[in-house]
Point group: C2
Chain length 160, copies 2
């Protein structure tokens, strides 16, 4: 075991000198996997998953939002959003309400339960990030946020 573990540690240290470690993309993915796993662990088995939480967040902050609009904000297809909204509706956190002027759209309206669940989840998610990222200073977190948003901007320019 000692011999094997020595080899293991050598390899892990060598990672630092690897081509791979120099790429933003690779590090983004690895970091995301780490954060996502901790998110799920913190919110628990039956808690909201990251995408459902994100959707609920936007529904709470933009009540009466349409599904198309929500999908666009989340950067996914309309068809992909259906299951997410079904989930939230199934939990009783929102309703699909008909809109007076336009019978195509269904406005997503958070229920009182949904509002309460969102506040709890919001607290839990903040706690998860605070704990997981306790190694980073407030400045570092702010910088990271800013840089990540800058990357997303590259995307919007391409599409424009």
């Amino acid at each position: 075991m000692t011999r094997k573990q020595a080899g293991r540690l050598d390899a892990e240290q060598a990672i630092a000198a690897t081509d791979l470690e120099g790429f933003i993309g690779y590090n983004l993915k690895r970091a995301y996997v780490t954060v996502q796993a901790d998110f799920r662990a913190t919110l628990g088995e039956d808690g909201l998953g990251p995408r459902v939480f994100s959707a609920l967040s936007l529904v709470v902050q933009f009540p009466q939002i349409s599904q198309s609009e929500l999908a666009r904000m989340l950067g996914i297809e309309r068809s992909g959003l259906v299951a997410i909204v079904d989930d939230l509706e199934g939990r009783g956190y929102l309703t699909r309400a008909t809109v007076p002027g336009d019978r195509r759209v269904q406005a997503l309206v958070p229920t009182p339960d949904g509002l309460g669940a969102y506040q709890s989840a919001l607290d839990a998610v903040r706690q998860h990030e605070d704990r997981l990222l306790s190694h980073l200073t407030a400045d570092e977190k702010q910088t990271l946020l800013h840089l990540l948003q800058k990357i997303r901007q590259s995307d919007r320019e391409d599409k424009a």
Copy 2:
């Protein structure tokens, strides 16, 4: 169209003030989606995908690495690596070589073709990141890399 687009832009700007935008996790995911899409677009239809590229990178830099070791370095399960190695073997970029001392392991050895393909892919990936991230200064990229690696560290500590 103008009215609709005005609504669209309002909503997009409003995102900046959203709970969601304050979370590292959400921004990590969105940024990763952006980068990954550009990676694939740059390397083309039949080019290497990000995970296959990553695997090849480690095989080139650690020739004779075992599949278990490679899986551990990539942070995935052994079973999940099989398809990736199959892909690389199918392209003729590596061979599964038997190892003298231990008949369980199969050392992954890059072929000359694999070495060449890796160098080309490496150039392409560098070009992709340089182009996509041209808004970021060298300093910003370095900072981002450092912060992302710091997040991955949180993970290793948990497991230790």
